[in-house]
């Protein structure tokens, strides 16, 4: 009769599989934890535990027992060894117990603590349980299994779970209708030869249903009532012996892999928090930097406006007053000459201010403005010479940003080149070419003058060399091509120009925003 029963190997394929599932689930949990900041470790653990505890009843083996076996046969009882699973020796089973009252759809929680003496090992431990109609079995707060057929006995091998020390058995039973009862028998064989028997009896305590975490409680509460005896095992409404013993595969202690331990989760949290903090601080820095840049731009605009509105107006008035003062004086007189010089000086100041204004005004930080200014400068500069200034400027450059350091260096270099051409080339025509090349800009100054041999050192090149060096500092380059008698071409190139800082959608649907003209400040007092 025992032949039909199998001794199950300790590790069966589903367990191996379940371990793998467990591992994968844990890794998934890890990943999800890293990805989703919203998920705390608790939810991850929840996912892992579900995977780690496949329901034992899925793998149950149902062994049928031959009817008519003498349950009380002492010989049989003696033969019953704890190692033999599925034995139909029921001597260790306690009576059916329940709460004082019985009603339909009733949940009753049973609680019992026991102690495994220290200094010895548990050799075998068998627990059999069933309930009319359902049960959930907990040992030390861990759910071991659940089922819902009172005609079966469910046999658990909990050898591996019982170490020396106090333990708690907790059972939640449920009665769907009419008679209700719960029955349990547990035998623990110790290495010392001692056998501990725990069975369902009136020493079990009934735990109130509204108590949470009750299955983990190690101490009973004084208010908990004892259970009520219903009938002896094999009697009462459940008179017939249980026909089947369902063997639950041996349970093993839950080994929590290191990545599921709380310290690891805390560590992860800390790392995650650290990463969050670092990113946050970086983002803040970037924001601050952007704000700083915006402030700088605003400040530049303000200074430009002040120069334009205040200084510009005042110096202009100076010029005007000088001119007016001259009108009353005979031309050629000493004072007239002095006043004329004052006016002239003031005019030059204004011209210098024009250039400074251009440099500091953030509105001018684009290629279009650069081209405009360079052309204007070339025209003005060459007006007093015999050189005809020709321009070749690529249209539609306005959308490209061209920041101050670049445009200033390039402007100085171009100015120097124009100056050299005016002074030394003897040309009649000068071509100023401004072209975009990819993200870069190329400015060429070409004259039709006498040219020179680039290999020959020349004194007047010093200024240009300085400018080339300055240009190199911002990543630009310069190429001079010339032959004696065939003019000279100086080509400046700045390779990378930042594209416009404002994204395209900032312009939609208004198109390019026009630069606002500066405004005069509230009328300055004239007295």
């Amino acid at each position: 009769m025992c032949g039909v029963m199998q001794t199950r190997p300790n590790i069966c394929p589903w367990q191996v599989m379940s371990r793998r599932v467990r591992g994968i689930a844990s890794l998934l949990g890890l990943a999800s934890m890293l990805v989703m900041s919203g998920l705390g470790p608790s939810s991850v653990r929840g996912a892992v535990t579900n995977a780690a505890n496949p329901l034992p009843m899925l793998a149950n083996t149902t062994a049928s027992l031959t009817n008519g076996a003498a349950v009380d046969d002492p010989a049989e009882a003696a033969k019953d060894s704890l190692g033999e699973r599925g034995s139909y020796n029921f001597s260790d089973m306690g009576p059916w117990i329940w709460d004082t009252n019985t009603f339909d759809r009733q949940t009753v929680r049973f609680w019992k603590s026991f102690v495994i003496p220290s200094g010895t090992n548990v050799l075998r431990s068998r627990l059999r349980i069933t309930a009319d109609n359902e049960y959930i079995l907990y040992l030390d707060g861990r759910e071991l299994g659940r089922d819902a057929e009172w005609r079966h006995l469910y046999e658990y091998d909990i050898t591996a779970l019982l170490g020396p020390g106090p333990h708690v058995l907790a059972v939640e039973a449920y009665n769907s209708s009419r008679e209700a009862g719960f029955v349990l028998g547990m035998r623990v064989g110790l290495a010392s030869g001692q056998v501990i028997t725990i069975s369902s009896d009136t020493s079990w305590l009934i735990v109130p249903n509204d108590l949470s975490g009750w299955e983990k409680r190690v101490e009973p509460d004084d208010s908990w009532r004892p259970a009520t005896f219903m009938a002896k095992f094999g009697e009462g409404p459940w008179g017939v012996n249980q026909e089947y013993i369902d063997l639950v595969p041996p349970l093993e202690p839950v080994i929590i892999p290191f990545w599921q331990t709380s310290w690891f989760e805390i560590l992860l949290l800390v790392i995650f928090g650290g990463v969050c903090l670092v990113s946050f601080s970086l983002a803040t820095q970037v924001l601050l930097h952007q704000k700083e840049q915006a402030l700088l731009q605003r400040e530049r605009a303000r200074i430009a406006r002040d120069i334009h509105d205040d200084l510009g107006t005042r110096v202009t008035q100076l010029v005007l007053q000088g001119e007016v003062a001259q009108t009353g004086l005979p031309a050629g007189s000493k004072t007239h000459g002095q006043l004329e010089r004052i006016s002239e000086e003031a005019r030059e100041t204004l011209q210098a201010m024009d250039e400074i204004l251009w440099a500091i005004n953030p509105r001018r930080d684009n290629l279009h403005e650069f081209a405009t200014f360079v052309c204007g400068h070339a025209k003005t500069f060459l007006r007093s010479t015999a050189i005809q200034c020709l321009l070749d400027v690529e249209p539609a450059m306005s959308a490209v940003a061209f920041d101050l350091p670049f445009r200033r260096s390039l402007l100085l270099a171009v100015k120097e080149a124009i100056n050299n051409a005016a002074k030394h080339s003897g040309a009649t025509e000068l071509l100023l070419q401004i072209r975009r090349q990819g993200h870069g800009i190329t400015v060429a100054v070409q004259d039709n003058g006498r040219g020179f041999d680039p290999a020959q050192p020349r004194a007047e090149r010093n200024g240009l060399d300085n400018m080339i060096q300055r240009l190199n500092e911002v990543g630009g380059s310069c190429r001079i091509t010339s032959q004696p008698g065939r003019g000279c071409r100086v080509e400046f190139h700045i390779p990378v120009i930042q594209m416009r800082r404002r994204p395209w959608w900032a312009h939609w649907p208004f198109g390019r925003q026009l630069n606002p003209p500066p405004q005069r400040p509230p009328a300055t007092s004239q007295n």
Partner: protein, 230 residues
């Protein structure tokens, strides 16, 4: 072309009567200096000064000056708006915008609004006189930059406006040469026309520009002012 020539006011003979000049400037001291300076120049007479744009619109049609010198920054009504309104009242009136600092954007807006020219306030008296006479004779101030902007401005409008406001082929040719830095004389040589014809074409370009963008320029100026004061 002949039609345009007819609408041009007769050029004042420098010797017969002085040029009548009106000045719109809000700062009293500057106003005084300017009128003194203008009166000190031969053949020029400052016949009227206005403190605000509103005053200018009221007074100037009555006194009928030949040229108006208009400050760009005026309280309440801006110089640009004032130009646009005056031009609507008196299309023959020549208006020159005065600015303290060189600001192409502003100048172009003024030109679009209907100004016939612009001068930096720091301009030497002799050049001022030349510029005034020049504007009166129909010469338009065309730097290469302004020429480029004019071409751009017309291209932007090309699809939306009626045919009569488009640039003619010759006008565009002249503007493109101007934008490349050629002087009127050289353009005339290249196109085998007279310098006068070049000037004539340019004047026509300006008339078209004024008609097509006067209100726009004012609206844009107001908008930019609004963004600035935020």
């Amino acid at each position: 072309m002949n039609k345009t020539a007819k609408t041009t006011p007769p050029v004042k003979a420098a010797a017969s009567a002085p040029l009548k000049i009106a000045l719109v400037e809000d700062q009293p001291k500057v106003r005084e200096d300017w009128s003194q300076l203008i009166n000190s120049l031969p053949d020029l007479a400052c016949i009227c000064t206005c403190k605000t744009g509103e005053e200018a619109i009221r007074v100037i049609p009555e006194v009928q000056p030949d040229v108006v010198l208009m400050d760009i920054f005026l309280p309440r009504m801006s110089g640009i708006e004032c130009v646009s309104r005056l031009k609507a009242l008196m299309p023959q009136l020549r208006i020159i915008i005065l600015t303290a600092m060189n600001d192409e954007e502003l100048v172009f807006m003024a030109l679009e609004a209907g100004a016939d020219g612009y001068l930096l306030k720091r301009t030497k008296p002799a050049d001022l006189r030349a510029a005034l006479l020049d504007v009166l004779n129909g010469g338009a101030p065309m730097t290469s930059e302004i020429a480029r902007r004019v071409v751009e401005s017309f291209r932007l409008k090309a699809r939306t406006r009626d045919e009569s406001l488009h640039l003619s082929v010759r006008e565009e040719q002249i503007l493109l040469l101007l934008s490349k830095g050629y002087a009127n004389k050289i353009i005339a040589d290249r196109l085998e026309i007279s310098v006068d014809t070049v000037c004539h074409h340019l004047k026509h370009v300006f008339e078209k520009l004024h008609v097509s963008s006067r209100t726009e320029a004012v609206v844009r100026y107001m908008a930019s002012k609004a963004t600035l004061s935020q």
